[in-house]
């Protein structure tokens, strides 16, 4: 008994090591509740202001790039605005949703972003007080970024496109061939479009855009086809996509609010319950 006691005291650090590792693994496996915990207590109080400070000095360093981006965005907007004026058609009267637009865009700053891991998350400085909710899309002017995963009063966590669990439906702009956009975890500037039923008529360089959904507006750019894989996997083909947006460098994003999402989901629930 005495020996056992001595043994435990002498090797107490081994038990401490095992205990702490178990605690860590419990934290990792409860990643769902972790986010709530961190966002509600620690992150907001401690890391929030520091991460915001870091975001602001990064923004200062990147001012030149942001300016260039703004100029190109403005150029595109002016371009579309003039085209709208020129090509006036009756269709515009019916499609005019200016009074109650389907999608509203909320600007947000990136305060934490990783790309070097396999499960990448992005933290933005907008939260419940800006009426951000779970499952809203996040985009930049160049392409899509991710989907809001969790919200706290002042911040939200975004499931990055560069996350092994990310998947949305996407299609090719030219011929409406649809597939599922995923990230295979290999290259942070590339994604994969899988579940393509046929690769006839497909070309390298085709633009990939979003499909109609509650999260993203239709035809929002994602990237271009960089490689067509010839081998069939389970009856489907897969394409390599070169993303337009470099997720490691962005600092300003837009959160997409769908004004009809709630209405549609309640309608769906109603049908499901009947």
């Amino acid at each position: 008994m005495r020996n056992l006691f001595d043994f435990i005291v002498k090797n107490s650090y081994v038990f401490l090591f095992i205990l702490l590792e178990i605690i860590c693994f419990v934290f990792i496996y409860q990643s769902g509740s972790y986010r709530k915990w961190v966002m509600n207590s620690a992150s907001k109080e401690i890391s929030g202001p520091i991460l915001e400070m870091r975001a602001s000095y990064r923004e200062y360093i990147n001012l030149k790039n942001i300016n260039e981006l703004l100029i190109s965005e403005n150029k595109d907007l002016i371009h579309t605005a003039y085209n709208l004026n020129l090509s006036y058609s009756p269709a515009h009267i019916f499609n005019d949703t200016a009074n109650n637009p389907v999608f509203e865009y909320v600007p947000a700053n990136v305060i934490e972003n990783t790309t070097h891991k396999q499960s990448n998350y992005i933290i933005l400085d907008k939260g419940e007080k800006d009426s951000i909710a779970i499952d809203m899309g996040v985009i930049t002017a160049r392409g899509i970024v991710g989907i809001v995963k969790d919200v706290s009063p002042h911040f939200c966590i975004v499931l990055s496109l560069l996350h092994k669990e990310f998947s949305i439906s996407a299609k090719l702009k030219r011929n409406d061939v649809a597939g599922i956009l995923i990230w295979d975890g290999i290259n942070h500037s590339k994604a994969k479009l899988k579940n393509i039923s046929s690769i006839e008529n497909l070309k390298v360089g085709d633009t990939v855009v979003t499909q109609h959904s509650l999260i993203f507006p239709e035809n929002y750019p994602i990237g271009t086809v960089s490689k067509i894989n010839q081998q069939v996997k389970g009856g489907y083909f897969a394409l390599d996509i070169l993303l337009f947006e470099q997720l490691s460098k962005m600092s300003k994003v837009w959160i997409i609010k769908n004004n009809y999402a709630h209405e549609l989901s309640t309608l769906k629930e109603k049908v499901d319950n009947e």
Partner: protein
């Protein structure tokens, strides 16, 4: 005085990691994790349980700012635990003396590079596989871990050269 110094190093490395090192994203994949230097340079004489506890604390603080809670902490606890075995494993001709600390100037260059390389390698491989939770892209994840290891070790050396000098005999 010594305790105070350790707290200062702790805070400095924590904020350096969060504010500067995490901003480095070389080719989007290389982000040096300098903060593990805190565990490397703890005195030889420090009790093992204390090293492990401090490692946990450091990892946990980093976790609050980045990633999933527990990832950095788990990797830090592991290298804090393996520190002593690695120290006894790395061959050296130096006689360990009371005043020595495991820093570049007290030990040989070759000793310190092996010591920091082994521990950083263990930390990074463990961390990146913990993040992936699968062996699907085994060689890719291993490659990323190796690249990050090189970056971290280089940064540790820069910091050792800039901020440290040989410890005095008491």
């Amino acid at each position: 005085m010594n305790k105070f110094l350790h707290i200062l190093i702790f805070l400095f490395l924590l904020f350096f990691q969060v504010l500067v090192a995490d901003s480095i994203a070389l080719w989007g994949i290389v982000t040096p994790m300098l903060y593990i230097m805190f565990i490397l340079i703890l005195p030889f004489q420090m009790p093992k349980w204390q090293v492990i506890l401090l490692g946990f604390l450091m990892g946990f603080c980093i976790d609050i700012f980045t990633g999933v809670l527990g990832q950095h902490a788990a990797a830090c606890v592991l290298i804090a635990f393996l520190r002593m075995p690695i120290i006894s494993l790395v061959p050296t001709h130096i006689k360990f003396e009371e005043h020595m600390r495991p820093i570049l100037w007290d030990m040989h260059f070759a000793w310190f590079i092996q010591y920091s390389l082994y521990l950083t390698l263990i930390h990074h491989i463990f961390f990146f596989f913990l993040d992936t939770m699968s062996f699907k892209n085994f060689f890719l994840v291993l490659g990323i871990a190796l690249l990050n290891t090189v970056a971290t070790v280089i940064l540790i050396f820069i910091f050792q050269i800039l901020f440290y000098k040989p410890s005095k005999r008491y």
